[in-house]
């Protein structure tokens, strides 16, 4: 079997690679941390066996009796209204039960946008009026006995439109630019000191503009729901990261009590923010199921996902960075224009990263929202941080070059180790410097020659080494955990945990299992974890913003504390639960936790389906996770394809709750970072509106052959303040900084400073 590295070599990707050691299949955090010694044996991915056997149940896997299938019809104009439908041909297709077009008033109302205190991916429900707000919007829904019949009939529905002018790109005529701080006062701009004055007097100045394209999260598993009415009650099976919002959203739209809705979502096949709220197909789908009197399944076709799913908005960022001649950063001004929709204001938080990445005393941020005729953008993995880091960390690299400083040393010199510059409160923990030092060491940074174009392979291939850092909030949400312990004899005890959380493949079941086996001395196979199911413990608040582990684990920890107390066991240290439970009746108890400083009424908010994530700023401290990425690019002398044969990433995510899945998260984040930097970009043809690149052919994602060695290492120091288990966040921080590390490496190799993503062959030829 060829190794990946050999394979890459064979494809001509990498000539001589510098000695790299990759962490293989780690079994202990100690193996990853290098210097940290942890005793505990950790589980591998607990659902791995089921996954490879195809036994995991996803949203579309459930096949109830008498199932019917729905397929949406989407608008083919950029904006306007539907004047008339012709559904005759569609209705004549054998097996068609329903062609739902415009929904009469009173049958369905639009659920509010999740970021406006509601539940939904956007605050505009298609089909409740004659409006077409954007190309690709759902305008009708066909239900038939088979998927084939529904697909055929959907293609036969025709609509006559009245068109209106539209604007989809940031620069188009007809957009509307709004100052975020004015239109969404709860998202004010970050201002510290007097950045304009400090910048004006800075001895060294940088001023550059960075463009980010719209990007679409394309999880392998499509958006999918199966709905079934059981009398007056609605059962929704859907892959989601937010069963609570799905439940309340559909109840709101139908005008029924949320108690009559159950949402079951044991596993999602990737979500990445796209599945973080109520989706707009669900209301019409539930209505259709009621009309046909049968369960209905809808899997949103891949090409429709580009307009049905939320996306990372197009952005333009201007960064001004002032420094003294020693490289000390004095001032930064970060101004962002990013896309939102006509119907919603999607709040941006780019400066949450730029304002506290370094110790910059004078800082001013400004966010402007640009209204465009598209679906509402949303939270796609590291929604703001990925692209904010591209701008900031490219500028920092430029500063290093301008001053002739080493990029790692410059970053270390500007580190803000103890205090959050924005809030003035202490950081709970910050091991960014250690990430940088360890990363430099593992990468072999000392061998870097700083001159642009100074490193070449024998065949003339240009080699570029780049570094960048990233950060992401360590957020927390309220959680309820129900623990049930049941003796299975003298040596075994089954522990069933039902907790707020969703498994999107990130490994929450594995992290929970590790916590329980380590704490209670039960076997891995005796731990049962139930998440993503409103029939277990409501509310099933969303698992997003990288807060899943830091939210579920403390609640479970509290429940285990109660269990120890109830059984008269020592409050901490190793115990033998199977022995303690032997001969006893099963015990069931509940505990709940919330973010530091959250008021008690937060429980009411989540009970009503609302969003209740908190952080990174808490009343007494700020908590962030950190990462440093070191990237090697190789650019062929003639053709100039950009390849990334190796990446070294070191993350500080607090305590590592599950080494196997944590490393996998970082690797996945780095891979996505490579894709988001070198491949992914939504194309808009301004004459037609919507997104032109609405297929996996036109929207290029990386393939295996694009990915080289990724060496992941984790600091694994428990955070002392954020929660009882010491975990921070990891899923999203892993991607932050990959883009600038690549861009900086491209600069090092070629002398081209590319300020627009994706960086493609035409940028370096």
């Amino acid at each position: 079997m060829p190794t990946r590295r050999n394979f890459l070599r064979g494809a001509g990707a990498a000539t001589a690679l510098v000695g790299v050691e990759t962490v293989g299949s780690p079994l202990t955090a100690a193996a990853l941390a290098g210097d940290e010694t942890l005793r505990q044996p950790y589980a591998r991915r607990v659902d791995a066996r089921d996954k490879v056997r195809g036994a995991v149940q996803y949203g579309a896997d459930h096949v109830p009796a008498r199932l019917t299938h729905a397929v949406p019809v989407v608008a083919t104009i950029g904006k306007g209204r539907v004047v008339e439908f012709d559904t005759t041909a569609a209705e004549a297709v054998p097996g068609v039960r329903l062609v739902l077009t415009r929904i009469p008033p009173g049958e369905l109302r639009s659920a509010p946008f999740i970021m406006a205190g509601g539940f939904a991916v956007q605050g505009y429900q298609p089909m409740t009026s004659d409006r077409v707000a954007y190309r690709g919007q759902m305008i009708a829904l066909v239900v038939a006995d088979t998927l084939v019949a529904a697909t055929e009939a959907a293609a036969l529905v025709t609509a006559r439109y009245e068109t209106e002018p539209f604007a989809v790109t940031l620069d188009a005529d007809g957009t509307e630019t709004l100052l975020q701080a004015t239109v969404i006062p709860r998202f004010p701009d970050t201002v510290m000191g007097d950045a304009d004055a400090a910048y004006a007097t800075s001895p060294v100045k940088l001023d550059a503009t960075y463009d980010g394209p719209p990007q679409h999260a394309m999880p392998i598993e499509l958006l999918a729901s199966t709905v079934e009415w059981q009398g007056e009650n609605l059962i929704v099976r859907e892959s989601t990261q937010n069963a609570n919002a799905v439940r309340h959203g559909v109840a709101y739209e139908l005008g029924i009590s949320a108690d009559r809705v159950e949402v079951i979502s044991p596993s999602a096949g990737g979500a990445f923010g796209q599945k973080n709220s109520f989706q707009m197909h669900l209301g019409p789908l539930a209505l259709a199921a009621r009309r046909v009197g049968r369960p209905v399944k809808l899997v949103v076709p891949r090409t429709q996902t580009f307009h049905a799913g939320s996306f990372r908005p197009a952005s333009r960022q201007r960064i001004r960075l002032g420094a003294d001649r020693s490289g000390r950063m004095l001032a930064a001004i970060h101004e962002i224009d990013a896309q939102t929709s006509r119907h919603d204001l999607f709040p941006m938080q780019y400066t949450e990263l730029t304002g506290r990445m370094y110790d910059i005393p004078d800082f001013r941020g400004r966010h402007q929202l640009v209204r465009t005729d598209a679906q509402t953008p949303g939270y796609m993995r590291a929604p703001f941080e990925h692209i904010a880091a591209f701008a900031l960390e490219s500028s920092v690299d430029e500063l290093a070059y301008k001053l002739g400083k080493d990029p790692v040393a410059l970053r270390l010199a500007n580190d803000a180790p103890t205090t959050d510059p924005i809030s003035g409160h202490p950081f709970t923990s910050r091991h960014l410097a250690e990430c940088l030092r360890r990363g430099a060491d593992r990468f072999g940074w000392v061998d870097r020659r700083p001159g642009v174009g100074s490193m070449r392979a024998k065949d003339g291939t240009l080699i570029g080494w780049g570094v960048a850092v990233g950060a992401y909030k360590a957020a927390t949400a309220p959680a309820t955990a129900v623990l049930r312990a049941e003796s299975l004899g003298r040596r075994r005890c089954r522990v069933t945990i039902t907790v707020d959380g969703h498994e999107m493949g990130q490994g929450i079941r594995t992290a929970i299992t590790n916590l329980i086996t380590g704490n209670l001395g039960v076997a891995t196979e005796d731990v049962v974890v139930v998440v993503g199911d409103t029939r277990g413990v409501p509310p099933q608040h969303s698992t997003a913003g990288s807060w899943g582990t830091a939210t579920a684990l403390p609640a479970i920890d509290a429940a285990m504390g109660k269990l120890r107390e109830q059984l008269g066991l020592r409050p901490s240290g190793p115990i033998d639960l199977p022995a303690a439970m032997s001969g006893r009746a099963p015990v069931e108890l509940q505990a709940r936790t919330k973010a530091p400083g959250q008021p008690d009424d937060v429980w009411d908010r989540v009970a009503a389906g609302g969003a209740a994530g908190a952080g990174p700023e808490y009343p007494a401290f700020t908590s962030m996770s950190y990462i440093a990425h070191f990237v090697e690019v190789r650019i062929e002398p003639r053709i100039r394809r950009i390849r990334v044969p190796r990446v070294v990433s070191v993350a500080d995510c607090g305590r590592v709750a599950s080494p196997v899945t944590a490393v996998s998260q970082v690797r996945g984040g780095v891979i996505w970072g490579i894709g988001a930097t070198l491949r992914e970009g939504g194309e808009v043809d301004p004459r037609f509106g919507g997104f032109l690149s609405a297929s996996l052919e036109d929207y290029a994602l990386p393939v295996n052959a694009d990915i080289g060695d990724i060496d992941v290492s984790l600091i694994d120091k428990p955070d002392p303040l954020l929660n009882s288990v010491g975990v921070k966040s990891l899923g999203e921080v892993s991607m932050v900084g990959v883009a600038p590390a690549i861009a900086n490496a491209v600069w090092h190799a070629t002398g081209r400073r590319v300020r627009r993503l994706p960086i493609r062959i035409e940028d370096v030829i």
Binding site: T76, I77, R640, R641, R687, L692, S695, I761, E762, I765
Partner: protein, 333 residues
């Protein structure tokens, strides 16, 4: 999916007959990787298909004579991996191996491959986009649109869609011929005469009659086959269509003088694009960085850029240069 009639032929005779009897619009079905795809997009709407994938006489590969003879029904993967093809015609093998994905290559045939259709987003994107190829007379959305992948050669006022295939480009460089049979015809055509430029009828892409079946592909053996390569440059390492590609072959004689040269371009024209002037520029020369680059420049001399595809001229020149440098190492071995 619209209902359609399906007939599986067991012999070539049956296939020819069924195709003739099928009525207007009846189509041959080989691996189905293009045809079914276009049917799902409602671009092709045949009332009937004749499945030839079980016709064993179409799958034969014979390398014993003075020509490579490859049945039109042979799978891309089987031809790509064939030891003689790999040894004597690396360009042919590479053009297949660098196309699509392993799964597709296991399904798709080398005959069907020749007749694949453009990947133009507007063509595939549905009725919302005017497209002369899909709907003659409706206009061309690409000409003033996002044309990063569109043709630099052979376009017209009606259509600038790129011919996307790789295999036909490599075949063109090596003077391949096709044996074709219809109910009343049995003829041989040069591959060079199969594809046509769009002109004012972009819906017409090739010269086969509706009732003709490609039986086999024949490639004369030449020493330039050994000294050949197919270099494909794309937006990622694998599983993407070409931004630029070049099939080149060289024979190099005494004192390093080029005696034969073959150059065809892929991904840049409305049909597979051979560049005789570029080939000619090398004859009698030594292959150096400079002569290779000059051949690339000659090859791209008449290129016509649109709005977003101009970079592919320089990229194409470099692709030819690089391909020639690779071919040289094989030709002189």
């Amino acid at each position: 999916m619209r209902p359609f009639a399906y007939t599986a032929a067991r012999t070539l005779g049956q296939a020819v007959e069924a195709l003739a009897d099928g009525g207007p619009g009846t189509k041959v079905l080989a691996g189905g990787t293009t045809l079914y795809d276009l049917m799902k997009l409602r671009i092709e709407n045949p009332p009937a298909v004749i499945d030839i994938s079980r016709v064993s006489e179409l799958t034969r590969i014979d390398t014993s004579g003075a020509e490579l003879v490859i049945g039109a029904g042979a799978r891309m993967a089987d031809v790509a991996e064939h030891p003689v093809v790999r040894r004597d015609y690396p360009a042919l093998s590479e053009s297949l191996w660098r196309a699509a994905s392993q799964q597709l290559r296991n399904m798709a045939t080398v005959g069907g491959n020749l007749l694949q259709r453009t990947r133009c987003s507007y063509f595939r994107g549905g009725s919302a986009f005017p497209c002369n190829k899909r709907e003659p007379g409706s206009g061309c959305s690409a000409i003033d649109g996002i044309d990063r992948h569109h043709a630099l050669f052979g376009g017209s006022q009606s259509c600038i869609a790129t011919y996307p295939g790789d295999w036909a480009v490599a075949l063109l460089a090596f003077d391949a011929k096709l044996d074709v049979v219809g109910p009343k015809t049995r003829r041989t055509i040069a591959l060079a005469d199969l594809h046509v430029e769009p002109g004012s009828t972009p819906q017409r892409e090739h010269t086969l009659a509706a009732d003709e079946i490609i039986v086999r592909i024949r490639v004369p053996k030449t020493a330039a086959g050994r000294g050949s390569t197919y270099l494909k440059i794309r937006d990622r390492e694998s599983y993407a269509f070409a931004l630029t590609s070049a099939a080149v072959g060289l024979t190099i004689g005494r004192r390093g003088v080029i005696e034969q040269s073959r150059i065809a371009l892929g991904g840049v024209a409305t049909r597979p694009w051979r560049v005789p002037a570029a080939e000619q520029s090398l004859i009698g020369e030594q292959l150096t960085e400079a002569t290779a680059r000059r051949a690339g420049e000659v090859a791209f001399a008449g290129a016509k850029a649109g709005h977003h595809n101009g970079f592919r001229i320089e990229l194409g020149i470099r692709t030819v240069t690089e391909a020639l440098m690779i071919a040289r190492t094989r030709a002189t071995r």
